[in-house]
Assembly symmetry: C2
Homo-oligomer: 272 residues x 2
């Protein structure tokens, strides 16, 4: 049974209802153990104030969303690299446990998946080299294959871990059940990853009748993912991170009272 | 350069415009080499008449769509098995080169992906045992992971080929670029499959801004899939099957004059 203190609130879950301060207040009100802000949240009030608010509540930061997008241009530009370096610095500033990487899809107007992956890996490695100097763990988040073209060309844990093994220390993976539940190698790749490379655990649910490619994720328990089974695989590797709830839901959860959303998150975590 | 005679028309591509007779007439008019009917098409005019029309035009049948759906009930019922046996018989009757299997997703009201896969594999094996007696090749079609819950719990070529290797002769795979283009193991798994297990090659395209989970496939060349690269991988294994065009497109191609659709298919095949 997962308790509120083992939950982290990804601010995307209450994106339409709460700014960072309000999200932190929600966490405080319900005894939630951590938060995962987006970089946009840090701009709202500035990095120092964001950090102060988070630390004042004693919240862990299960991850900063997000670095990556190494394929936004046809070359790995200084602009892309600088932006990722800045993301690392921001993650350090708010004491994040990792910087989550959504690596980018195909290069602009390109069908070259292999070349896009090559450019992405180069960007990832350069960012990792910097991140090591400031001791910020980099978490590759494999996204569901339906986002391969436009968001992330890393779509399986196996490929993510192949990248990690090629790069060495300081890099691991964020396991999001929404993106990975279908993978017949999910269990074996979690085992392969082991404690060292398991940096984050993201929760939502896959609705049987999903209506939108991006904004129709379900609340844990409302869909088809056997979350407790996947969590057991994580726990077998001594994973002790927070359970980060990240629900993009334009037509349902984003329209509800955020207190209700959080109460239901906590209820569901207790049983799945 | 692919010519019309190397194309097969999956009747789903003109589903809203043509019945089987009209689809066959289209193929004749444009010198298309093959057709891939759905079982519904065979019901329109009866199996014998369907076969006669197809053979009269000298069309190859690149596959019959489809058997499978082994998880529609919580047990592998006689009903499911009989229906698959019937699909095998129909494939034989129309001289199909394979029976395409869309294996089914999760069992009803279940989150048990592992158990669903087990039931699916059992059904597949029992159907294969029968299909061997009548020499009908069984083609597992791995579907995109976004269909894992509701249509097919085989979502990678690797898993499909693991199943094939476990079962032996008489079974292989249908490689559909729409379902598999994102897979970092696509090339290596095509190589692993080899000529013996490569039974069909299905074409459409992944649109960058896909609007519907099922009915928004693109015409070859309108999306992001590097089809010619994937075909080269197939050809490296001496794949000599037809290029089966299968485009589900409720808002675009299904609304067009079918002659226009076919002319554009042929134009695009010539360059991709």
């Amino acid at each position: 049974m997962i308790k509120a203190e083992q939950m982290s609130l990804n601010t995307a879950t209450v994106k339409e209802q709460c700014n960072l301060r309000q999200a932190i207040d929600l966490c405080a009100r319900y005894g939630i153990g951590g938060i995962a802000p987006w970089r946009e949240n840090l701009k709202e009030c500035g990095l120092d104030e964001a950090n102060r608010m988070i630390q004042d509540q004693g919240l862990r930061v299960s991850g900063l969303c997000r670095g990556g997008m190494f394929t936004l241009e046809n070359q790995l530009s200084q602009n892309i690299l600088d932006n990722n370096k800045k993301a690392v610095d921001e993650a350090v500033a708010i004491h994040a446990e990792c910087l989550v990487m959504v690596v980018g899809g195909l290069k602009p107007n390109s069908k070259d998946l292999i070349g896009s992956r090559k450019q992405m890996e180069e960007g990832l490695f350069k960012t990792l080299e910097y991140a090591r100097t400031v001791k910020m763990p980099i978490a590759i988040e494999p996204l569901h294959p339906m986002y391969a073209a436009d968001r992330a060309c890393v779509n399986t844990l196996k490929y993510a871990l192949d990248i990690c093994d090629g790069m060495g220390a300081g890099i691991g993976i964020a396991v999001d059940v929404y993106h990975t539940w279908w993978d017949p190698e999910l269990k074996s790749q979690i085992k392969r990853a082991g404690k060292e490379r398991l940096l984050a655990f993201h929760l939502s649910d896959w609705l049987m009748e999903t209506k939108h490619f991006l904004l129709d994720r379900g609340m844990m328990g409302d869909g088809v993912i056997d979350i407790s089974r996947i969590r057991k695989w994580m726990e077998s590797e001594s994973f002790e991170m927070l359970n980060e709830v990240e629900i993009f839901s334009a037509e349902n959860w984003w329209k509800r009272d955020p207190d209700e959303v959080i109460r239901i998150c906590i209820e569901r975590l207790a049983v799945c």
